[in-house]
Symmetry: D2
């Protein structure tokens, strides 16, 4: 990427973050609805601190930090960069104000412009790319967290007006067939990203894996199918659940995906960033966790033996075989921030965008993986324990952020992400 | 009180609440730093709901509630008035916005003006007085809670500029003698508020108690004395503490009053609503809990046997005997919101204002007490369990709110109130 | 008491402890069913350590402790006597075995015999009396804790065979009138134990209190009355409960006293030390906590305004006025360990034994109270916080242990004691 | 296996369980030191219930259960077999007594003898084999849990006398080289157990995996090496730890493997089933969890880049290539119950027995895995979430229980198992 292209990408990504908070009040941006979520203002400041800590301080001569305590306040989890504010207390930071945070962004942006102008090394370009991808991750988290925040308010306020999309102007409710499958041959496949191209460390090294033949579903599981699972006692039958999942179902009293609600005997409705809305049976189901995804697959296997979740290898091999086209996917760029029903299509569809797809793969290192030296070594490697891989991006992901080899990961009980299910067999 | 006087008092009290939030940003007003504290915005709305629920709905004909869900959002603990938002989740209410809450206040105020004009019954006047006293209580809580909120921020932001007062312009640091005492004779005394005058239900009925003779300290314990207690190992000696208090000291790692901080080997400093400040040894110590007050008294008794905390009866008898003059006390009306060192004086001083004074009396019903009928019966009576009485008001209390018979109460481990200590023997 | 009388009393008290564990297996004696309860074996060893620590070590020349670690294992809460095993881990002490603990008892008993023979000072006699009273307290706790332990077993094993008593051989089920009252005049009364006679420090100093006239119920509340309270929604109506009590009812899902159980639509039955048994409506209700006692009184006041719990002063004045005769009470000496229905009688009955009676008095120091010097100062004083006074002893108390001035105390939520209710008005 | 051989194996396995509790008192056998451990008596009863529930009730005509409530008490986690006693309350079951449990065992054994005599079907033989393997698993758990129980006692009582072994009679302390490696070629390997031979469902189906070439350490990590890790700040350097592991280190204040203790500046000692003992630097380190194993590998990689934990595939391939000989391993059959230093040997040693070896593999289903129908489907499959695979067996495993394909699994923070570390690169 040329320096000018990089500068343009920098400007675009940074601007998108600020666009995302436009519909929000200062109060919306400060609160933290649970320890795992962060306030919108914190996301804006943390992503800015990332550029300050990893680019400006080491590479821009005579750079002065904007505020001596912001490193403490906005470091997320980098032990190598010193102590930091407690994660669960991010929501108590009423100061700095949103204006100060926007000033902070401007300060860092103007110095990044200097750096971009004066330093064209491969190393800084690589770090800037990391910083931009990092900010894109936080854009999705910002949407995810603000959705959860607004939903915790009994008034159920909307982030934005309902959005029209191509998909929703068509015949909404058309039942697509998520039980047609595409076969993949057995063989020795390559997994992971080639050296050279940008990616996160956890997508490397590219390596060989053997897979016996299998089939992958052409569509993600829909809300209509999920409603049938609920109807059939899905949340009341321990034999369908992992042991830890069943314990969680009982403790948390889950009866449907997160955000689904219904009045007694009424139809299911769901909370979206445009407020409460009826459920479209043709939409991909969203906001289910790994336990639910796994239980759904076991339930589906009762009527069609062999149904299960795909591994991340199977998912990536299918994406390589069947095409992975972010430009045509259902991404945050569209501005709807809710998964749309897929249009009719032949073969495997919906891999890119819509909903993140849980895989049956725990998040661990690829063979030969080594975290990078320095603080960036903490970016991914230290989280490789007791989390599960999701693939493909969602309606809250930016299209330019995703790849077929991209590995997202969350614990088995996480439901507030835009996460859904695709079956294999 | 005439209708006009009541209307004026209504206007004054309501205006003071709004004055208190003037220095705050919308973000400051929304967060909740712990389950026992409430956001400033919530205080503004809850006190307004109180008038709506107890006055406008029952007494103003054709009154329409401002918002159908505000009763759910802003009811605090009245089971008789229906379900309500979870206390610990008050800080998630980013909506309604501060403007909407101020609109709510205006809506209620204008209808209260109608009610005040059309209804001059004793019953509504009594309820309005309750509502105004209720709002004054929340004004103190608002200050108390916002102090805690700001302190939880590593930036230690100030609520206001440092305030000059008569006391602080004099010789700050003058050591007053808090170990001179005034003797009270034994006898049969009357305790509690006479029927007729306004007070809370928990101050009645007035009743007789027998007291043997005792002495009450002329001053509250000062920061200087407290520093000596710390220096002498006060927080490290189990023999000075109640069993539950010692467990709390170890669990919470308390080493000084709340808000006291010092760098290694540096002098103690304290957080105030005007930011971090040096400690004036002559100031009444503030932000200690019952466990600490009791431990201090046991420590003091090591050098002067018989020293202890007064009971609430002893406190009230002393106030009756020695005078209780809110007009001359250190109250929120002064706007400093931090206890000032007392000027030199003969006899018992500082009973009114400055710091709430812990007594050795658990908060229980007076003989013959019966809670009022209806929802207001939940105001006080249901909390008469495992709390301790504090007396006298503080620098965050409004002078017109306090009485010598006034019974404040908090659990033994509460430190975020403006609470201090006076000894007896 | 002469030396010989004291030696006899020593032998009797110690033997009774050992009699109490006779029906138990070694396994019954080792487990700890909750942090507030202790294993039977621990009670046997701790009471023995008490004599070793407070008598033999300081007063018997050349005494060698039985085992160097027993001080660590069997110290309960005396900070002055050094560190100790964690309370909640008492149930993990499979060693020393029961035989070793009985050897320990014999070792201490034989050295206590030496001490009794050689030392007749007032000081040691006083300490021995404390140690014997201490052991009697633990005898009751042993019964209380073993009852809870056995009940936690789904097999509901019995400690002993059902026991006949005078009361139970008569007309069981006879409904006594617990709503007749005896009037007490107003006046200045003396409360607490005279100097000279043996008592715990918390019963002193004797002091004057003023009481307006009141009436005290002639009988404790019965199981039949409690069943009516349940039937009338007692456990489902928040208006009857203290705020903390209502929170506990919901959290713990209490629907009846501890140990009451019933099959769907079946009659109530209760667990006793003789196994599950039908409920006798005429028996005093037992195993209710302060919250329940208070709620029952509020419920009773709905039909008879003014009904409430007595204060501990009112209880003690009534006992002084109406007679308190342990020799005729329902105590552990009878060996039934379950409260019996009271025989017909005029006036106030059942004060001594049967069930401990909750009072409306928090457990605090009497005016002028000072804990004794040394480790025994920790016996009572440090627990004077957030507990409530119970009076009169129970069917698990030894008759020679109780006095009209005796102050027992437990937290408001404790149900596993033999605790009941008497009303006043 | 012939019927007679199976009957003999049944007798041997059952007898070994009873031999294991011989050194224990009834008290030792009843307590439960933490929710994840079970009392010895419960292990004895639960394994017996397994035969009753899976064999006698379905297959032995007219079989009467020994006790109607034992199914409730001794079912572990089989939802398909009905409700059960809470896991964390197993330690409260003082009844049935140990004698009753031994009677229960005899009752079931005599009826199993009938069944073995009359029913020679493949199906019952298979289920009996499952039951015997199940009991062998619990024999190891019994040893593991009783070790933890005894260690929780400040007296540190021993289960048995110190045991001599071949290894310990030689030159104890000889430093073996755990950093020599054996190379394994890249290739397509088969993993898992062949159909036909006995194994658990989770070892099947046998399937192909591709592995690039790697090297496996010839020895497990020793105590001497672990002491060097501690000395070098291993437990104080966040960069060596997984994020969740570092949080656990700080929360739990781990500074060494479980059971390691030292006086200030003294040498490390460790608790064994023969009491406290000095640490032999040549012994395999034991009682470390996955976090510690992973941190050790990262630390080792600082001096020798590429060092890491093996995957379970790598471990199994190495075992197939280098030999896995339970008959020569360090197993429970030897009766020492503590890992011995390995004798000098060429090539890969110590795979069988000694310590379980943590692998870098989360415990998930093999491709094509399906749990068996019925209650036995709950045996393994429902635990395939957030646990890690250990291989090879330990000094607490019976030799006849282990296989090279055997997959043990525990959560990342579990330390009370006999678990150690082998490196790969």
């Amino acid at each position: 990427m040329t320096g000018a292209a990089l500068a343009q990408r920098y400007a675009d990504v940074r601007a998108f973050s600020e666009r995302l908070v436009k519909p929000l009040s200062p109060e919306d941006c400060v609160v933290q609805p649970m320890p795992d979520a962060s306030p919108a203002k914190w996301h804006l400041a943390h992503t800015t601190w990332f550029f300050e800590a990893f680019l400006l301080k080491p590479y821009l001569s005579k750079y002065q930090v904007f505020h001596p305590k912001f490193g403490f306040l906005f470091n997320s989890y980098y032990n190598a960069l010193g102590p930091r504010h407690a994660r669960a207390a991010r929501g108590l930071l009423t100061r700095p104000s949103m204006e100060e945070v926007l000033d902070y962004r401007e300060h860092v942006d103007s110095h990044m412009a200097e750096l971009l102008a004066e330093n064209e090394s491969v190393e800084t370009a690589r770090l800037i790319e990391v910083g931009l991808n990092h900010e894109q991750q936080h854009q999705e988290l910002l949407l995810t967290d603000i959705k959860y925040t607004l939903w915790r308010n009994p008034l159920r306020p909307a982030y934005q007006e309902p959005q029209e999309t191509a998909a929703t102007t068509g015949e909404a409710g058309l039942q697509v067939d998520s039980r047609s499958f595409t076969a993949i041959e057995e063989g020795l496949y390559e997994i992971g990203r080639d050296a050279g191209a940008f990616c996160y460390d956890n997508e490397q090294p590219r390596h060989r894996v053997w897979r016996d033949g299998y089939q992958i579903a052409d569509r993600p599981v829909t809300c209509g199918e999920w409603a049938a699972f609920i109807e059939d006692g899905g949340y009341r039958r321990p034999e369908l659940w992992l042991s830890a999942g069943w314990a969680a179902v009982q403790r948390e009293e889950w009866q449907a995906p997160l955000y689904w609600e219904r009045a007694k005997d009424g139809p299911w409705r769901t909370f979206t960033l445009s407020g409460m809305a009826p459920i479209d049976p043709a939409e991909p189901v969203c906001h289910v966790n790994y336990y639910e995804a796994d239980a759904f697959a076991r339930w589906a296997a009762l009527s069609e033996p062999g149904l299960r979740l795909p591994t991340e290898h199977e998912w990536e091999i299918a994406a390589a075989a069947c095409g992975f086209a972010p430009s045509q996917g259902d991404f945050a760029d569209g501005g709807r921030f809710h998964p749309s029903a897929l249009p009719a299509a032949d073969g495997v569809a919906g891999l890119a965008g819509g909903v993140w797809e849980w895989t049956a793969s725990p998040y661990i290192a690829y063979p030969g993986y080594a975290p990078p030296a320095g603080a960036l070594g903490e970016y991914n490697g230290k989280f490789m324990c007791d989390q599960w891989v999701l693939r493909g991006g969602s309606c809250a992901t930016t299209a330019s952020h995703i790849r077929a080899t991209y590995r997202n990961f969350f614990p088995a009980d996480a439901r507030w992400q835009f996460s859904g299910v695709r079956l294999a067999k």
